[in-house]
Amino acid sequence: MNNKLKSHNDVLEAIATAIDIPDYMNERACARYQSIGKWLDREESSIAHLAPSISPQGSFLLGTVIRPLGDTDAYDIDLVCKLDQTKTDTTMKKLKEAVGHEVKSYAATNNMQKEPEEARRCWALEYADEAQFHMDILPAIPDIENYRKKLVEASANDLLINTKIVENAIAITDKMLPQYSNITTDWPISNPKGYAAWFASKQIDTFKARKGLLVEQGSYASVDDVPDYKVKTPLQRSIQLLKRHRDSMFEGDENKPISIVITTLAAHAYQGEESLSQALRSILRDMQKFIHNKGGVVWIPNPVNPQENFADKWAEIPEKQQNFFLWLEKAQNHFGSYLANSYENIPLSLQESMSETTIKKIEPLISSSNTKSVSDILLSEVEHVKTSGPITKPWYG
C-alpha cells in the first residue's frame, strides 16, 4: 500500500477523513433538500408566488459536518427556506405556517412516517429511512435594511462595506416572542450565508490551493468544476476533530460547548497553516484569546453581527462556561500529547475521544517509524534560536 501514513499530519488527516460525512451521504443530503426546494416551488404550491428558495446553513454549508457518534444516530442538516416577502406583508406566525403547510404536504406526499414537528424557530423533518437525516427548516425573509442598521449601531464599518455579508441578511421567526402574530419590524435577525462568507475568508488561500491541487492531479478540468465539499482545508479538518472530541466527551449533555463557538474561535485562531497538525497547534493554543470580556460579560461575538453573543447562555448557565474550558483543557492535552510524541502511537486518551472504531481503521495504515536522524534538525533548530530569539548560555555557579 503506497498511501501509508508517515507523520502526525497524515494520521490526523486520516482520522478527520474517517469522521467526515461520506461523499455519497453528502450528495444524498443535497438531493433531499433540493427535492424539498422543488416541492415548495412547484406550480400548485401555496407559496410558489413568493419564490421560495432552500439553502443549507451551519456545518453543512461550512463543510464541517461530522458523522454522528452512534451508528444509528442521524445527521443534522440545517436549512433556510427564504420567501420573497417583507415585514409589512406578513407576520412571523403567517410565514412559519405558510412554510409549515408545504413542508407537511411534502412529508405526506413522500410517505414520511413522522409529521414535521414545529420547533421554536423551525420545522423539524425526520427521515426515518436509510438516509438518517434530521432536517431543520428555518423560515426566513430578506432583511438587508434592518441588518445594515444594526451594523451602523455597532460601528461595524468593515462588515457594512462587505456586500457578500450584507446582502444575505435574513429575518427569522420565533414563536416565543410576544410580537409573533403582529405586523412588526421587530424580527430576530440572522445571517448564515454572511457567516459562511466570513468563514470562507479565513481559509481562502488554502481552499483555492487545494482545489488547484485536484485540478493538477487531473481529477477536474478547472478549479470552478471542483465542488466545495470535495475540498477540506486544515481549518475545516481541525474543527471536525474538535467537534468529535467534544461529542465523545459530552455525548448527549445539553450543556456541551456548541459548534458555532468552537467554529468561530477556531476560524479566528487559524493562521492559514498548510498542514493540519500545524493548524491544530495554532487553534488549540490561541482559540481562547478570542473570548472577550464586555463589561464583565463573557462575549464571543458573532463575527457578522457583533451585537450577538454566541456565549449568551454562559451567564445564565455557568455549567456551559465551565464545560467549555474543561473541554478545551482536555482537547489541548489529548492532541498536545499526541503531537509531542511519536506519530506512530496514538495515545489512549485521543483514541477514546476519536472513537476506537475510527482509530482501528487508521492504525494499520500507519507506517513504522521513520528513523531519520535528528542531527540535521538540531542544527536548524539552533539556527532558528540564533536568528529569532534571545540565546542563553549555560553557566556553573
Binding site: Q332, G336, N370, L378, E381, V385, T392
Partner: protein, 225 residues
C-alpha cells in the same frame, strides 16, 4: 501579605498550567510547599517544519520549582532521567540543579518574562543545547565561564561594556536611576557627561534593566570575588 502571596501562587499556577497544557502535555504542575512544582517529561519540540513526521526531538525527565517571586527568582530545574552527566562540564551544579544561565542576564535580555517565555527560551535553549552537545560535542550558544567570572561576563554582555568589575559596577550604578542622570560621567569611559555621550543607549538599557534589577545585579556582583 500572606494573602497576596497565596493569590500570586494561584495566578502563577494557572499561568503555568496554561503554558504546559498543550505544549508540554506530559508535565504536571502542582503547588508543593508554597512553590509551583512542575514534574514529568519535558519534550524538546521542533519549531521549524521537518521531514521526521513530527514529535519531539528529545525527551528529558525533569522537575522544575517556581518560586512565587518568579521571575525575580530563578526557577530551579533538575534533570532526573540520567540523560545529562551530572558534572560541571554539562552545567549541572553541585546540588544537581541545571544551570540554565546567569539568571539576571536573561531578565535583562528579555522584555517578556512570563512563564511562557521562560519555557520558550532559557528552558528550551538549555535542553536543546544538551541534545546538541550529545550529537555534536559542543554547546551551540556558547558557555559562560564557571563561577564569578561567568557572572561578570554575563553582566558585561548585556550592558555592552568591558568585562571589568569596576566598569560593570559603575554601569549598574548609573542604571539605579531611571532615567540615568545626564550630568554623571558616561560609563563608556569617554570622559564626557552622559547627556553628551551615550544617553540614548543608556535610556534603552534602562528600559530593560529597571533600577530594581540593577540593584539585584549590583548586590550579586558585589558579593563576588
Amino acid at each position: 501579605m500572606v494573602r497576596i502571596k497565596r493569590d500570586r501562587l494561584a495566578d502563577l499556577l494557572k499561568e503555568t498550567k496554561d503554558v504546559i497544557c498543550f505544549d508540554q502535555p506530559d508535565l504536571v504542575a502542582t503547588v508543593v510547599n508554597s512553590k509551583i512544582k512542575i514534574d514529568g517529561v519535558y519534550h524538546v519540540m521542533p519549531r521549524e517544519q521537518n521531514n521526521r513526521g513530527g514529535g519531539s526531538l528529545a525527551d528529558y525527565n525533569i522537575v522544575i520549582e517556581l518560586d512565587s517571586r518568579f521571575p525575580n527568582y530563578a526557577p530551579v530545574v533538575r534533570e532526573l532521567g540520567g540523560n545529562i552527566p551530572q558534572t560541571s562540564e554539562y552545567h549541572i551544579n553541585r546540588d544537581g540543579s541545571c544551570c540554565l544561565e546567569v539568571w539576571e542576564t536573561w531578565l535583562a535580555k528579555s522584555k517578556d518574562r512570563s512563564v511562557q517565555s521562560f519555557f520558550e527560551w532559557p528552558l528550551r535553549n538549555f535542553f536543546l543545547s544538551q541534545s546538541y552537545k550529545r550529537e555534536k560535542g559542543t554547546f551551540p550558544f556558547g558557555e559562560r565561564s564557571h563561577g564569578d567570572p561567568g557572572i561578570l561576563n554575563g553582566y558585561a554582555e548585556v550592558l555592552g561594556c568591558e568585562p571589568d568589575k569596576n566598569v560593570v559596577l559603575y554601569n549598574l550604578q548609573v542604571l539605579l536611576h531611571q532615567p540615568p542622570r545626564g550630568h554623571w560621567q558616561c560609563p563608556c569611559g569617554s570622559g564626557q557627561k552622559i547627556r553628551d555621550c551615550c544617553r540614548d543607549r543608556l535610556l534603552e538599557l534602562s528600559d530593560r534593566i529597571s533600577p530594581k534589577l540593577a540593584r539585584q545585579m549590583l548586590e550579586r556582583l558585589n558579593g563576588t570575588t
